[in-house]
Amino acid sequence: MTRALAIIAAAAMILLFAALMIVVMPAIQLQATVKAPEGLEPYSEQAARGRDVYISLGCVYCHSQQPRDPSIGPDAQRGWGRASVPADYVYDSPHLLGSMRTGPDLFNIGVRQPSQDWHLTHLYNSRSVSPMSIMPSYPFLFEVKPEAEDGDVVVSLPPDYAVDGVLVAKQDALDLVQYLLELDRSYPVDVIPMAEEE
């Protein structure tokens, strides 16, 4: 080949075409058909802040948010919820679908673990409630005080993990837990029925 401009132009056209095919076309289809389901509320202000903490601490590198259809895996049997649909994500930006399941899927963690207390203990040290867990501890989301003050949320700890004084959750921890509690897609949605296998 002898013409640089031809190579560059053709290369650019091919990529443009690809982008139209697998990004723009599906996006047009989705934007035309997807509406927020009746059971889905936007995140509360506190949960939205908690979502930022989730992003900032990189939870997405170990936790997916996309339970799959029973024909693919036992996600529903593990209590991760029904298969998600595009409408479940209308309030999610940036998306947090995730690509790893070093830990379990969290798309319905608010249904599975509705207790703020459990989440705080788990964030402080996951092994205090789940001995085999390899999730990092997040001690910097908490502070140890001699005694609780007004409005403090005290974290309950098993004896092995007890601190000298009381363990109080910082605002970031409370926001993050609020986000996790609002991860609840247990409402019904319309799905296209799967084809029966012959």
């Binding site: 056209m13 058909t33 997405v60 996309q66 895996g73 994500y89 679908l97 790893m100 830990g103 990092p136």
Partner: protein, 551 residues
């Protein structure tokens, strides 16, 4: 919606017919000069058959030549060509030194971050006191440093060095490339700080906040200028295959990077499609072209033989462009996006076998006839191993995109191992080899300590085997455990522990190899260490093999 699809269909039709007409025109007018003559573009007159390694000194080079099969000594015209080339090589010294030296720094930082992240997987209580040390920040810092710091900067450095070799003209506007390196470095430094401080955009491969994106775009635009300026002054009619890859990468990276970083283009699941289209294409249409451009140049130059089948390289190039660009959505198999779009990506992943086999035949067949040179030349051994890893990781990638396989490997460490076979086994090894070739031609001196090259090679080779094999097995078992409803989820976590520990061991060996390599390279770049009278090869080339060796 219907009108949009109708418009796109009509546009596709018009573009396809236009493309076909263009192709017919190009064939009629002999635009594809694809014969064996074109493959010789990178050789000087009468240079085919001559090895171009080691850089110095003459005696060892002559022995290396005998090892390959002797040819006549160069005449005056050839000698002049070689001197011109040495001058052209020198014209890249400042910018290439900047890009390569910077890449060495990011390689070391990225390796250390990678080892920390790896250890944290089996020692979750290690380094947890501060937010910036948490796994979820170290891991993206590792990825961005090795992708945009090490691989991109070293790849660009090698690309800039190749410009005079491909166009047979001294580098034009090298100062722009130097300025680009400085701005790119500033961008990366700010970006790494931002990620560790928690200011991430939240999407894999696109974590850097927008001010960093802008710096990278400016730095990238600056380093593109010398490529264009030198292209305009080129003294060759035919553009060699390496140049196609460089030119395409030049347009692909900004298109991908800018589109994917546009703020508020999409939210929700549409954004996940944009995200994975970018994340896979940045490998396929940015890293891969840089790596292949280097491999396509160094392999034939070192063995002194044109590429095995030059027409095949044309298929390899355009098939890569056509098929790779539609790949990416297979990262979302089983996810909440239109199945037809995922299927397009799966089909194209499998189609990738075509360019991969084309490239594999070209690379491996070119080396096969002269395999003995692998015993001596560090560049050849690194680059050829990298080319083998490219074949393996690409075939593995095609398999992994199939729904049956993907169901098991999705969301597991198997995918992480695969990513490292591509970006490390292929890209990094090719870059190591290229740097071993380029540095002596920048400084005019051999590498000071050949033993360090051997240490580097064996540490990263053994280290990567210990990294890749256990992690692939562990990831596969993890996937099987996750799919089995009768086993608790926690079993898929605990069974990976020995494999994750092995990964840390392998990663540590690789990092050790990188430390040796970086120190050695810095020493060579500042012209430190002893002035060698013999060449820096893996082993001395025997003096008398004339007659029996080579072809």
């Amino acid at each position: 919606m219907t009108s949009a699809i109708a418009f796109l269909l009509a546009a596709t039709f018009v573009i396809s017919v236009g493309g076909l007409a263009l192709l017919v025109w190009a064939l009629v007018n002999d635009q594809f000069t694809m014969g064996p003559k074109a493959a010789r573009t990178i050789f000087g007159p009468g240079e085919v058959g001559k090895v171009e390694d080691p850089a110095t000194p003459r005696l060892v080079k002559d022995r290396m030549q005998q090892e390959r099969g002797a040819v006549e000594a160069p005449d005056a015209e050839q000698q002049e060509e070689l001197e011109l080339r040495a001058k052209a090589d020198q014209s890249t010294r400042v910018p290439v030194t900047w890009w390569l030296a910077s890449s060495l720094f990011w390689l070391l930082l990225g390796s250390v971050l990678g080892v920390i992240a790896s250890i944290k997987m089996h020692a979750p209580e290690w380094l947890v006191s501060e937010a910036f040390l948490t796994f979820g920040r170290i891991r993206p810092a590792h990825l961005n440093v090795v992708a945009y710091g090490w691989s991109s900067m070293a790849g660009v450095g090698i690309g800039v060095w190749l410009i005079p070799r491909l166009f047979k003209v001294a580098l034009q506007g090298g100062a722009y490339a130097t300025a680009g390196a400085i701005i790119w470095n500033i961008g990366l430094a700010v970006g790494v700080w931002a990620l560790l401080a928690g200011h991430s955009d939240g999407m894999e491969w696109l974590e850097f906040p927008w001010p960093v994106d802008i710096l990278l775009v400016i730095g990238g635009a600056l380093v593109a200028l010398p490529l264009i300026l030198s292209l305009l002054k080129r003294r060759v009619q035919h553009l060699y295959v390496s140049a196609w890859y460089l030119l395409a990468a030049l347009i692909w990276f900004p298109m991908l990077f800018i589109t994917a970083n546009l703020p508020n283009l999409f939210g929700g699941v549409e954004q996940s499609m944009l995200n994975w289209w970018y994340a896979h294409n940045v490998l396929g249409l940015w890293m891969t072209p840089l790596g292949l451009a280097a491999a396509y140049y160094f392999i034939p130059k070192i063995v002194g033989a044109p590429i095995y089948s030059y027409s095949l390289s044309l298929i390899g190039f355009w098939a890569l462009a056509l098929f790779y660009s539609q790949v990416g959505l297979h990262h979302l198999i089983g996810g909440p996006i239109p199945t037809w779009a995922i299927t397009i990506s799966i089909v194209h992943s499998v189609m990738m076998v075509i360019p991969v086999v084309a490239v594999a035949i070209n690379h491996h067949m070119t080396v096969a006839a002269h395999w003995r040179l692998l015993l001596y030349s560090p560049t050849l051994r690194f680059v050829v191993l990298g080319a083998v890893a490219y074949t393996l990781s690409s075939i593995q990638g095609s398999m992994q995109a199939l729904r049956g396989v993907n169901t098991i490997t999705h969301f597991t460490h198997y995918t992480v191992a695969h990513a490292h076979l591509g970006l490390y086994g292929f890209m990094s090894l090719v870059l190591f080899g290229s740097i071993y070739f380029v540095v002596p031609r920048l400084t005019g001196r051999e590498w000071p300590y050949p033993k360090l090259i051997a240490a580097h090679f064996w540490l990263v080779f053994v280290g990567f085997a210990i990294y890749f094999i256990p992690l692939s097995i562990g990831g596969w078992l993890q996937g099987l455990a996750m799919l089995d409803a009768t086993r608790p989820f926690m079993e898929s976590v605990s069974l990976t522990m020995p494999y994750l520990t092995a990964r840390s061991v392998g990663g540590t060996l690789m990092t050790l190899g990188h430390a040796i390599f970086a120190l050695h390279a810095v020493l060579a770049l500042v012209r430190g260490g002893p002035l060698r009278r013999d060449a820096a090869l893996f082993r001395p080339v025997p003096a008398t093999r004339v007659g029996e060796a080579g072809s």
